[in-house]
Symmetry: C2
Subunit: 384 residues, 2 copies
Amino acid sequence: MENFTFENPTKLIFGKGTISRLATEIAPEKRIMVCYGGGSAKRNGVYQQVKDALKDHFSIEFWGIEPNPDYDTVMKAVALARQNDIDYLVAVGGGSVIDATKFIAHAIPYDGEDPWQLAIHNELITRSTPLAVVLTLPATGSEMNHRGVLSRRRTKEKVSFITPFSFPRFSILDPEVTYTLPRKQLSNGIVDSFMHIMEQYMTTTGNSVLMDRWAEGALLSLIEIGPKVLEHPTDYDTMANFMLCTTMALNGFVGMGVPQDWATHRIGYELTILYGLDHAETLAVVFPALLTILKEQKKEKLAQYAERVWHIQDGNTDQKADKAIEKTVTFFRQMGLRTRMSEYGIPAEAVDIIYQRLKKSGAVYGEKKNVDAEMARAIFAQSL
Amino acid sequence: MENFTFENPTKLIFGKGTISRLATEIAPEKRIMVCYGGGSAKRNGVYQQVKDALKDHFSIEFWGIEPNPDYDTVMKAVALARQNDIDYLVAVGGGSVIDATKFIAHAIPYDGEDPWQLAIHNELITRSTPLAVVLTLPATGSEMNHRGVLSRRRTKEKVSFITPFSFPRFSILDPEVTYTLPRKQLSNGIVDSFMHIMEQYMTTTGNSVLMDRWAEGALLSLIEIGPKVLEHPTDYDTMANFMLCTTMALNGFVGMGVPQDWATHRIGYELTILYGLDHAETLAVVFPALLTILKEQKKEKLAQYAERVWHIQDGNTDQKADKAIEKTVTFFRQMGLRTRMSEYGIPAEAVDIIYQRLKKSGAVYGEKKNVDAEMARAIFAQSL
């Protein structure tokens, strides 16, 4: 096992009727800005619950955080917060709203000239406005982790920032708020959280007995819950199980002392930036192709995954690995996602366009830092 | 799933050579008291590592915290800390030293007349001296939770106290410090952590898909690791896996939104108080008998446990439940523990003595609050 430091101070408040806890969890003298996305919070009743809970606090609202939140949008929120002496933020939404609010929290007290530097050089983040979350879309795990992703459309950049200052003080997860989510967002949420586990698990065998079991346990849970979520999206226990899985998929609980991969996430960003795919769609396209290209490297772990998660006992290591990849594709498709670039209308030229961009950036990804521009080209060619 | 609030702010510092981190994790101006047990820290080299790490801090030492720490002992530590204006505590040891240090942390700033009240009425604990841990004996999970157990031999009491102020600020877990542990303490540690998982798992089915998987994953891990720990207690990865399992067994990670039991722990205390059994020994005696007596109530979950943890696929629910109990007994015995009162030389009269004590206390335990004095009598009679 590798040496590690684990810390996750976020308080999780989970269950029916818990949005009202905003009233008591935030000190009465705080000046709050509540950050929202595009308006779904008004349609599903969450807006009214938040408003009722904060009726005795000073609070203002910022609306309009878009999917894949943009730097220009969050800087408008920063300006509004500064004008109003805001000292507490509440993100009401899914990963995009939460990630944006994390960046807003870091940028408000920052007195440097160019706040974009905070997204690039995370060590510049040394204090932040405290933030809480009311989660409406289970998927990214941002409600209980120190990660965030920010885009800058003007410069075609998408960066991931990590800092302990990004942990929310508390997050409220009421499964009832998920009942009105569009089917597409449920599908994406299942695949997104499945892939968060996979990035921490699909490396080599023998690193941590317990972390492997917990990762496999979370994968088994998502495989069991996934079809039920799509069939019964207003069943409380189903949605509670779903919500808990998505949060636990990326809060550090399955990643202690083990190598991690994340190449699928990182090269997948290109498909969002260039062709507008949803984040989960990029994962469903890239991951099966990555496993095929890196099969030799990941074969032993693929066989373990085949045995323990898909109950495949027949065949040799190689055959088990192949079957595990097939099963994974089938699961993504069962969840309603397409798994090839061509199915999303992306032309074959994309392979070379992405190759050129990655070559220019010089970045290398993956557990063994061997997913460079060349290997990414092979992966995208495989995924056509 | 039940509504729940989860919070665990303890920072875990895990791996080889990490004791030196004490130097930087505690602010230089702190006045530290380091709390020790009976002297094993001097024999295994941990004492010297702690001393070296704290060489630039002001620090004093308190020695002599006994197994099942006693109120009179901890109050001597409180007096010493007050005399020296101590404002940071470091527990170096296993569960007993950590639990004692937690109580010392609560008692130092308490200005009430009778600090024992803090152990009984936990809501009286409203501030505490910060504390850190260097773990030397993996077993209780106290290094990453808000629980503690304190005994008062003078009055034959043993109480468990729970408060968010009991979370250590950080805990250092270096698997290498476990190499010199006596075999008996390793056996106890495995059974103790196995039972911590069981108390959170062996209730009813269908509460949480993920928590069930994680509990089963931890049980599978301990079953795999247990024999290796006894055979190869100086193998780094084996001991690292063991140490991680024991911490994760009782830090809230497998207990979210699920009913819990804890009857085995609570009625098992009697065997420690009256007959001096180690804590883990009481669990190995009580649990199989409790499962036998409560088989009807726990049958469905026992069958799930049989299938997923012991891979028992044949037979009906009843037969699976029986086999699961047998397998559990076999595992405890394989770990070197005896599982019957008579094997520890406890006479048959004990059953009635304990019955009278429990009847007098009037307490009821277990997930369904039906383990009263009568049922405890049946359980102890079964365990003779």
